[in-house]
Symmetry: C2
Subunit: 593 residues, 2 copies
């Protein structure tokens, strides 16, 4: 057994005889001496093979990168001038007494300290990619995070309870992965999109506090940074108010950031209502590191001659808003054109602006293609409300509110980070007072904004049917630096309220009974008031490590085409297996997306 | 928020005002006062509703079993003579000051303290079944066990690393569950039977110490006490010998028994070779609580006139063995007939015996239908070897060794527990020195006894091809009270040895490359010596709780027909879903098992 990890040796162990195991990170011959950087999961240490020790020196000459070695040697101080301050072991080296080659290695397809390897090659040889110090450190941090969560929740009386992977569709709206049952012919299991129903049942069972670090599955078209399987910190508790749940969860997140990364998050987290967040940031997951804010202008644009603004302001779902960029008047024509292009991704048809060259000169000091369409009074109100200063620039969004929010919201973040209007610290927040429902224009009906088990806010029960658009819920999201890292709600525990919500959603009693029979039944047998939350573990660790993709914090991820390049899953299967499952393949008519 | 859990209040809280949440376990009207046993996950407390408090008394009259209540009340000592010593809260009661009905309940299909409910009804209403104190306690113990494991392994430097659920077939030999891929048409994921290959890859990646409490899946015909999905404590480590791994794992198991159940297991665990275990107990998972042992007789039966014994002794794979039952001569004809019936389940064609009425009288003191076929000398050797005493009975097994072992091994346990030859303590052991291979008579070839990545014992490499039946492996199983609770091995880390094993197993290079390509490839790039183990969590918790079935330690288990009676999974699916997955159902020709 080893006496030390390579990377953990320092001057504390001077003159000790150590036994080390590790991989040859690099070999150098220098002045008749062979130096080996030996690597294990804790880091590197310099091994010295002196030609006086003939046997080990001859062995050392055979050594190549990534060979596996056992080293017995003596720790000594490095000679003056050869200290490497970037290594924990940089002040010492180990003089070999004895050495064994435990395994050889072919020349690997990339060096372990190369930072410019294509992701394709990395995923194909994931077992080598995971040797790279950055990947070692990512997965170790992930372990620390989960352990910190477990310790915290255990201390708070939460029980870790496993829920099924082979189960029935959960009502999350995304596509399920299906698993044909062999024994129950022509029947299928579904992999869970979340343990939502089970955790609510556990509350009905009286477990009081449940958690699980749970694998979840969604067969989505893989946009951006999604994985077919992902991991949730899944939590549910009984008899607590939304306020109490949020306080506890905040503590947990503060604890894990401190325990795993020594980061101090604010206490308490600021709270924003959904309405405030949309109003000021155009987003329900605002990046609060960015100091820029939107300014509401809808009310002053009704009836202005500028048709684009007027039409947006007159629409029931329209919005006109401004985004002031301090010192933005230095933006070039080219830059403004690029931003116009950028907001068009979100559906914005243009990007009007005013440059404030000199505010004291009134309209003379302004420069803008749209000035001529706006009454003077309106322009002054714009300057007033945005607080524009000399040298600023004001962008405008005018369209359906959703387009204004998405485009100006995204522009706010982009410019904020590009032009120095953002801090680099950690800015968590709670978003609360979500609407119960949002209008689905395609299907022409109300949809649950969270899920249909979310409780309405106190006093909003009657609104469910009278004025669904005004009903607020007891849902809460936790956001961090512009990402939603968790979301949850107090659930409905009374059958009569649940029925009202189904009615508002236009879900018939039959449909509800078919889909959620066991949950609705459970609500009849003494369901306690309860609520919970689920955090996206992959996303939290991605943020903490500063990784570009959640693939960098998952040991064996899938590509965006849902393939594992290492194992070549998914794969074809034998006809015999299909026959046992009582299914057959369809002919492929055309390639799918 | 509650001030206390119901079951946790005692005289320490006398005169305090407490706020409690819980379920009505039972309501009694007695002498004009209403008593409610209020239940939460920590247990029961007696609530007293005095008629003086008119408002709460009227509420209390409406209360039925399983209603959910909020109670504010004052803790007081129970009157003399009404103390309930079986309850933690049995010395006190809570006089209601204020009460709220948080939810009502229909009359549940069974009472929460009924112990004779059919499992079918329990599983159908699992959310109520889980309210029963025994189920609460089982799942809480399971939580304690996993937490104890996590804390231990974390302290020992093991990293919790998640491996994929959507993956490729693992070479475990059982049937895989398949998941059709929508994006990759006509391709399928398989759910893992274990993370075996991934944990070995993580060792190649240099993580050094890995663990995961991992969900595993096997689509087996569900015999006895199996589940389609089950949970493993999955562990792998690099650079340790079998000896070092076993020592560490023993410590872990001792720790978890102590931490979760305050049970002291022996230190160290006894070790038996596979040969010894089969020899003495007829089993590689011996129940060491049973004091009975088998006695080898094969050598003295060659050439005896009794054909049954002679034939078995002459066979290359035959065995003749005895099982001495102290005081067994009191067994009746009927009991012996029943045991004969019992061993026939295991293929034994009969169950010869000798009763020792009086040993001093030589053959006169013995009573047996087979005496006349055995030479006198042989009989005396039997008495000698078994150490038979007056009043004992000796059973015999003679057949293929596998049948003798299974039948006498099972008889040993049955009689041992029935007739007081067993202790009731905890008897773990390691079984070591397993053979590398076992002969598969059906397929007429060698099969890996563990799996094809198991390392041969030191010095046994050459035997792999020369004499496969004699080659021992570096595998080890942990057994406890007759159950295998864990098994593992040192793995092969060198490609040349792995190739030899494949050759011994008659697996062609092509076949090996196709099945295990990425593992074989990984072995070429500096794989470290490594090994590991997997423990069956469900089984460990079943043993610790004394449950009859693993279904009693799993929150939402499946039946033996792999169905969830609560959610009705598996279920039929829409044609649209099948079309998206590019599969269609076959017509059902005949019912499947």
């Amino acid at each position: 057994m080893r006496t030390n990890y390579c990377g953990a040796i320092n001057t504390h162990y001077l003159d000790e005889i150590v036994t080390l195991y590790g991989w040859v990170h690099r070999r150098r011959d220098h002045g008749g001496v062979i130096f080996i950087d030996l690597r294990d999961r804790e880091g590197l240490v310099q091994i010295v093979c002196d030609p006086d020790n003939i046997e080990t020196f001859e062995l050392a000459e055979k050594i190549r990168n990534e060979f596996v070695l056992m080293i017995v040697g003596k720790v000594r101080r490095r000679p003056e001038g050869t200290v490497n301050p970037s290594l924990h072991s940089g002040e010492i080296e180990v003089l070999v007494v004895n050495m064994e080659i435990l395994n050889t290695s072919l020349t690997p397809p990339f060096l372990m300290d190369d930072e410019h390897i294509s992701e394709f090659v990395r995923l194909e040889h994931r077992y080598l990619d995971l040797r790279r110090p950055v990947m070692q450190s990512n997965l170790r941090l992930r372990h620390k995070v989960t352990m910190a969560v477990r310790v915290f929740l255990d201390q708070q009386g939460f029980l870790d309870i496993e829920t099924p992977i082979l189960t029935k569709s959960t009502p999350e709206g995304a596509r399920d992965y299906l698993v044909p049952s062999r024994v129950n012919v022509n029947h299928f299991f579904a992999l869970p999109q979340s343990p939502q129903l089970f955790k609510q049942l556990l509350m009905v069972s009286g477990f009081d506090r449940y958690y699980q670090i749970a694998r979840c599955f969604r067969d989505e078209d893989l946009r951006a940074d999604r994985q077919p399987e992902f991991t949730q910190i899944d939590i549910e508790t009984s008899f607590l108010t939304a306020e109490e749940i949020m306080t506890l969860m905040e503590q947990m997140i503060r604890h894990l950031f401190k325990a795993a990364s020594n980061i101090d998050l604010p206490d308490p987290f600021p709270r924003l209502t959904y309405a405030q967040a949309m109003h000021k940031y155009g987003s329900d997951k605002p990046d609060l590191r960015v100091a820029l804010e939107l300014t509401e202008l809808t009310d002053i644009m009704q009836g202005v001659p500028f048709k684009v603004f007027k039409d947006a302001a007159d629409k029931p779902n329209g919005r006109v808003a401004a985004l002031r960029i301090p010192n933005g008047s230095q933006l070039t024509r080219k830059e403004i054109d690029d931003y116009t292009q950028f907001v068009s991704i979100y559906g914005a048809k243009g990007l009007a602006y005013i440059k404030i060259n000199k505010r004291e000169d009134g309209l003379q000091g302004l420069q803008s293609p749209i000035l001529k369409f706006l009454p003077e009074k309106t322009v002054f109100t714009i300057l007033e409300r945005t607080g524009a200063q000399n040298g600023d620039l004001i962008f405008f969004g005018a369209d359906k509110a959703s387009i204004v929010n998405e485009s100006l919201g995204a522009l706010r973040i982009k410019i904020g980070h590009q032009h120095g209007h953002a801090t680099s610290d950690w800015r968590p927040a709670w978003i609360v007072d979500f609407p119960m429902f949002e209008w689905d224009e395609e299907e022409n009906r109300w949809q649950a904004l969270h899920h249909p088990f979310t409780s309405p806010a106190d006093g909003h029960e009657d609104l469910l049917l009278e004025n669904p658009g005004q009903a607020l819920s007891k849902a809460y999201d936790m956001v961090l630096n512009g990402s939603e890292i968790g979301g949850g709600s107090v659930r409905i525990h009374r059958e009569d309220v649940q029925k009202k919500v189904f009615r508002a959603l236009n879900i018939s009693e039959d449909e509800a009974r078919e889909k959620f029979s066991f949950l609705l039944e459970a609500l009849q047998y003494g369901a306690p008031p309860h609520g919970g939350i689920a955090f996206g573990l992959d996303r939290i660790v991605t943020l903490m490590t500063g990784s570009e993709s959640i693939r960098d914090v998952i040991a064996f991820p899938k590509t965006q085409r849902a393939q594992c390049l290492l194992t070549h899953a998914p794969d074809t299967v034998d006809e015999k297996q299909l026959r046992e499952l009582n299914i057959r393949l369809r002919k492929i008519d055309q390639p799918k997306n």
